[in-house]
Symmetry: C2
Subunit: 431 residues, 2 copies
């Protein structure tokens, strides 16, 4: 089930890989202790880039779609993790209301919703789909390409509770990233469990907060394993008040791009890396691969064409970009059938439950693959991610590499836990 | 990965199966609430017999061997469940001491030990194997057929702690069923976690206690689903002070065999079942398939031959049989390549993590398959046990059947939890 991967990974990453594999009990115990202090996000997916010399998360999604891309073999892991998550949060729960994104015509997205419904049904909940799309005024069945049928029902707010007609859930699971803000119908639901919490939505979240938390996690993990945290940490900078349409705030961007490229160059020199450094400029609250551009030289910012400016100016749900993250670019050396690929790791509660490769035949190793034309190649984590064998030779087989992906993905998930603690509005009131 | 099963299951079991599949959320929630009140055994395997008209557990093992018979695809589930178990019991644990059975020349058993080592290593523990076999006086490497190497080390007792040379575990996992009693070296280990507890060993456990607890569980589950608990419950009786060698106590056996056959006959009549009833007479603390005989008529007990008496008189580790369980015989209608088969379900903590078919080409549908000549056919639980689909047609495909096996196995596990509570010596002192 492992697809044929044309990898040619050499250099420091193999040392790192070996150290990670040998340190399995130490790493797993460290996570165990971290999860005693910190609550993992309910579910998480992490995009990872493997440059050979460096392995880093580049995006952490707290409302993951794409569950339909996991193979059937992975589902029991997801179900088991879902059972553990529910047991902890609301063991007495009977009914779960799943709130999807509003794009009701994207059947791939709706297959993801159906997959989530299946997972939580198997974990022991009555699951129904409550749409907050104003166009959904009555129960609307949708036929899916695989022959399944999904029923989208309009949510009903009654006083302090949200539900459907004849369906009063004790738990509400959001698969809607709230890019456009929190609709009033979701506010003040203090009687029901709302997962993930509202402040995990992109109306509040900032990538720069996440990667600041990740930097801290990477430092601690680097110390644990006695290694340079840069090997797993993408450096970054942040600019506020950028307006691509009006050409304002671009000086900050240029200065920071230039400084970051210099820092990367220095690191490349230290490790003898021949690649040309680049940075990725991203909307600080962007998602869906929108509002992303690659920059190899600060001078490029002088001459942005209209198309690029438009692309950078507005992101999902028509949100205007103002805060910008400037992130060290990490090339990906993974390829599937000659197409450039990057792994995406899926987690439920604290557990790695699966993953796939995002593949894009028309993109380069230093480009954003989360773009139209991308496809997905499921990955078997079973023989790999969770089972490094004591005394096995790391690097001798492809599968071992996924343990490392599972570790780095969980580091990003832990960073998200730190981030959600730091941004929790209720925690701030407590102080 | 699902082997070709020649099943011809008709009659009431399909109604039952349908009801179980349709009730998934209700069942899973019921288990969730039970596990809030009761602690599941650390790990459990359950032998199940599927007669078509009836499905029942016939043996519940609290020190399961045979982990090596699980396919690699099932291991991540076991690892994830092991992580959950450790997290609950001893999250700070670094070192785990695994104490196997003393038969050091059975490589299949030792492959089971290696598999357990792999599972707990992957879950984040340093695992070493501590033998309590007096023959193991120094670290003894054993080569396994698959090329792996296992190191058996003599345990060392220092004051109140058990360990190995330079290895002080905080957790001790028994894979030794203590049939011969508790060796002194395992007593009074109050500073370390000892799993499962000593009173789960066969020196204390009695099948009759287990099936009494199971009867209670089956009744409650029957009520939950509105069904006759007999459909999942093997009826039983118990005789103490039986001595097969000296022909004493056999009257009790005859009376109870006769009475139980009458009860089975009545049930068969109620359900229109044409099979000939039989009972299984088992040593009440027997294991490894030892001390088991089938009886179709109480008169058979008048003329037991020497060989049968010897077989019934002494069980594992040379223990003399005195207490006897008389259990309703459940035929198995499952076959793999024409050989009679019964499913064995494996659980870690509260989770079903896999299973296999025990197959015996030379045995009949009404015989004990746990005997020399048995082989094991791994089963894929992933597409089945944990994922009944909402609205799917039960019985339409083979896989759905395993969800039911997973349910019945967990009912037996829950019964074991009740049983361990009732027999806990420390709980009795508290009263």
């Amino acid at each position: 089930m492992v697809p044929h991967l044309v990898t040619a990974l050499t250099g420091p990453i193999n040392e790192l890989e070996q150290r990670i594999l040998e340190s399995t009990p130490v790493i797993e115990r460290w996570f165990r202790l971290e999860w005693m202090e910190h609550t993992p996000p309910f579910y998480t997916s992490v995009d990872i880039r493997n440059a050979g010399f460096k392995l880093a998360p580049v995006d952490t999604n707290l409302f993951p779609g794409g569950w339909n891309n996991l193979t059937p073999e992975m589902l029991p892991l997801a179900v088991q993790a879902a059972m553990a998550a529910i047991e902890k949060i609301c063991p007495e729960a009977k009914n779960l209301l799943l709130i999807p994104e509003n794009h009701t015509r994207n059947v791939f997205y709706l297959m993801n919703v159906a997959q989530l419904q299946r997972i939580f049904y198997s974990a022991g909940l009555n699951v129904r789909i409550g749409s907050i799309n104003p166009e959904i005024k009555e129960p609307t069945p949708v036929e899916l390409p695989n022959g399944e049928r999904l029923l989208l029902e309009p949510v009903i707010r009654e006083g302090r509770r949200l539900g459907l007609k004849h369906f009063d859930p004790c738990t509400i699971l959001l698969n809607n990233d709230l890019s456009a803000g929190v609709p009033g119908i979701l506010e003040d639901l203090h009687e029901q469990y709302l997962l993930p919490p509202l402040h995990a939505g992109w109306h509040v979240r900032r990538k720069s907060n996440h990667f600041r938390a990740y930097e801290e996690v990477a430092k601690r993990f680097g110390k644990l394993l006695g290694m340079d945290p840069w090997l797993i940490n993408p450096m970054f900078a942040h600019c506020g008040q950028v307006n691509f349409a009006e050409n304002t705030g671009l000086e900050c961007l240029q200065t920071n791009v230039d400084a970051l490229l210099t820092r990367i160059r220095k690191k490349y020199k230290e490790y003898g890396i021949q690649e040309r450094p680049f940075v990725v400029v991203k909307a600080d609250n962007g998602t869906y691969g929108m509002g992303v551009m690659m920059v190899r030289d600060a001078a490029e910012l002088d001459n942005l064409n209209r198309r690029t400016k438009n692309k950078m100016n507005v992101i999902k749900d028509g949100q205007q970009v103002s805060d910008v993250l400037i992130q060290e670019g990490v090339i990906t050396h993974e390829r599937i059938n000659d197409a450039v690929a990057e792994p995406v790791v899926y987690m439920m509660d604290r557990y790695v439950v699966g993953g796939f490769y995002r593949v894009h035949a028309e993109r380069g190793v230093d480009e954003n693959l989360n773009a139209p034309g991308a496809s997905f190649v499921p990955l078997a984590f079973e023989k790999s991610a969770l089972q490094p064998q004591p005394g096995s030779k790391p690097g001798a087989s492809v599968p071992n590499r996924f343990y490392m992906y599972g570790v780095v993905a969980r580091l990003a998930m832990l960073a998200a836990a730190y981030e959600l603690e730091a941004t929790d509005p209720e925690a701030q009131w407590d102080v």
